[in-house]
């Protein structure tokens, strides 16, 4: 296992110690999925690919691949995006 950078390790320890949510401190994405119809993704870094069957989104530490049907970006803001449609698969690809 690769040794993590010193700053990141410190942050992790601090997050555990202070019991703070990791998405805020570590800048990790927070994904909320409601059934298979809606997904709310916070802390995204941009869209790599977008079409009706597949959406790829950059997040800290990799890419999030969403497969489904009739996918629609309901809202997109600098930090948050809401995806609607029939979600079939969620995949996390470390990059």
């Amino acid at each position: 296992m690769k040794l993590e950078p010193k700053k990141q390790r410190l942050q992790k320890i601090l997050a555990g110690f202070l019991e703070m949510p990791k998405d805020i401190l570590l800048d990790l994405p927070k994904i909320t999925v409601i059934g298979n119809v809606q997904m709310i993704l916070e802390n995204h870094r941009g869209i790599v690919e977008y079409n009706e069957e597949c959406v790829r989104v950059l997040v800290t530490g990799g890419q999030l691949v969403i497969n489904g049907e009739k996918l629609v970006l309901r809202t997109i803001l600098p930090e948050e995006l809401i995806l609607e449609g029939y979600i079939k698969k969620l995949e996390y690809r470390p990059g």
Partner: protein
């Protein structure tokens, strides 16, 4: 919901973006803080995006940078609506005026009606009401209803109470007339005659001259108290013809009570065994609609479903508006099932039943205040299977009935007294 509301006021446009770097286009736009929503990828190089109006200008820069082509497809929201309103300014003004005029006209009195008047005629009341502002065309806020009520009551002396209600554009003046003491129903002299045959028991003369004594047998129509009063003969013996000698004193309206014994009889014949039909409580409803001459059964049986039934028909017409009527009628027929019954009675029970019926018949004909003195029940012979009951009742009642009498005028020479009503 709230987001949609805000979007409506700010306005938004639906654009179609075409190009090869659409993902980059989205990322750049988001990076600049342009609020995008409802992104829909339709094909490889084609996407429909909705964007708030305030972000649209920046979107053009983004499009230029990513070599995308942006075309407006649809404009929605208040700013665009406002533009349309300004374009059709006069139409909107007209619509606004229409509503305003309707509102204004609904505050004006359009109809005044009077209810409850019998003796006082309507124009009099309406005229008095108009003097106090209650007339067609008055602006309602200027109307002082209480003052008008008081005013009408002072001006029209025959009214006991006046109430004015305003309902919408209609004003209803409700009046209650004074109840005056009973005036004489007939002009001229009046005799009291017998209303029925009877035996006079007690005679009470209030006005007039009594013509019968207690104990007299009187027949219907006989004068009991005369309204034309003659004085004692002036001189000598009374003339056989009664002309001239007996001096006329006065024409009056006779008043009095004549309590007499009156007899009533009633004969009732009834079969001992009673037969008939009674409703069982079962009801079948049939609804029909009638258009002109055609009838269609909407619901219920086609024909009377019971062996014996009573039919009740209700017709409902559809009042469309005011006096207009549609030529359509809805007819409801109710079939009430009947069941025959047979009541076995002993002859005694039948007599008792017939007697009750006979008493009812007699009571219906009695004058108020009459008192039953004696009652006799006989059951004479009757055909087989029947009973016959004869009830005779003796009643003490007031048989006095006023009847107009021909006035007799005094000879012109004898002045001093005049004819009085």
């Amino acid at each position: 919901m709230l987001r949609n509301w805000w979007l409506f006021w700010l306005g938004y446009v639906k654009v179609r973006a075409t190009g090869t770097q659409l993902e980059k286009f989205i990322n750049l736009a988001v990076g600049r803080g342009i609020p995008l929503f409802d992104l829909r990828r339709e094909s490889a190089g084609d996407m429909s995006i909705k964007v708030r109006l305030d972000g649209f200008r920046s979107l053009r820069h983004v499009a230029r940078k990513t070599h995308c082509h942006v075309k407006i497809e649809e404009r929605s929201g208040f700013p665009f609506l406002w533009l349309a309103v300004r374009r059709y300014r006069s139409v909107c003004f007209g619509a606004l005026m229409f509503v305003l005029i309707i509102c204004l006209l609904s505050t004006v009195v359009w109809d005044v009606e009077v209810i409850g008047n019998e003796r006082v005629d309507k124009p009099t009341i309406l005229g008095m009401a108009a003097k106090h502002g209650v007339r067609v065309g008055t602006w309602k806020p200027l109307l002082d209803v209480r003052a008008a009520e008081r005013g009408i009551m002072q001006m029209v002396s025959d009214l006991e109470w006046v109430g004015i209600h305003a309902k919408g554009t209609r004003i209803t003046i409700e009046v209650q007339e004074k109840v005056l003491p009973k005036s004489l129903p007939i002009a001229g002299p009046v005799n009291i005659v017998a209303g029925k045959d009877g035996l006079v028991q007690r005679l009470l003369v209030l006005v007039g001259e009594g013509k019968v004594k207690e104990g007299d047998q009187v027949t219907k129509g006989q004068v009991l108290i005369s309204g034309v009063i003659y004085g004692p003969p002036v001189s000598g013996e009374p003339d056989k013809a009664g002309n001239g000698k007996a001096q006329l004193v006065e024409n009056v309206q006779a008043k009095g009570e004549v309590w007499s014994k009156v007899w009533y009889t009633a004969v009732v014949e009834e079969p001992v065994i009673r037969e008939g039909s009674l409703p069982t409580g079962k009801v079948a409803d049939q609804w029909r609609i009638k258009w002109g001459k055609q009838e269609i059964i909407l619901k219920g049986p086609r024909f009377n479903p019971f062996p014996a039934a009573k039919e009740e028909v209700y017709v409902r017409t559809t009042g469309l508006w005011r006096n207009l009527q549609m030529p359509v009628e809805i007819i409801k027929t109710e079939y009430h099932e009947l069941r025959p019954y047979r009541q076995e009675r002993s002859p005694e029970e039948a007599v008792e039943g017939a007697r009750g019926k006979a008493r009812q018949q007699i009571n219906a004909g009695l004058a108020p205040g009459g008192r039953v003195i004696r009652e006799m029940v006989e059951s004479p012979d009757a055909p087989p299977g029947m009973v016959r009951v004869k009830v005779a009742v003796e009643v003490l009642e007031d048989i006095a009935t006023p009847q107009p009498a021909a006035p007799v005028f005094k000879p012109q020479k004898e002045t001093g007294r005049t004819y009085r009503r």
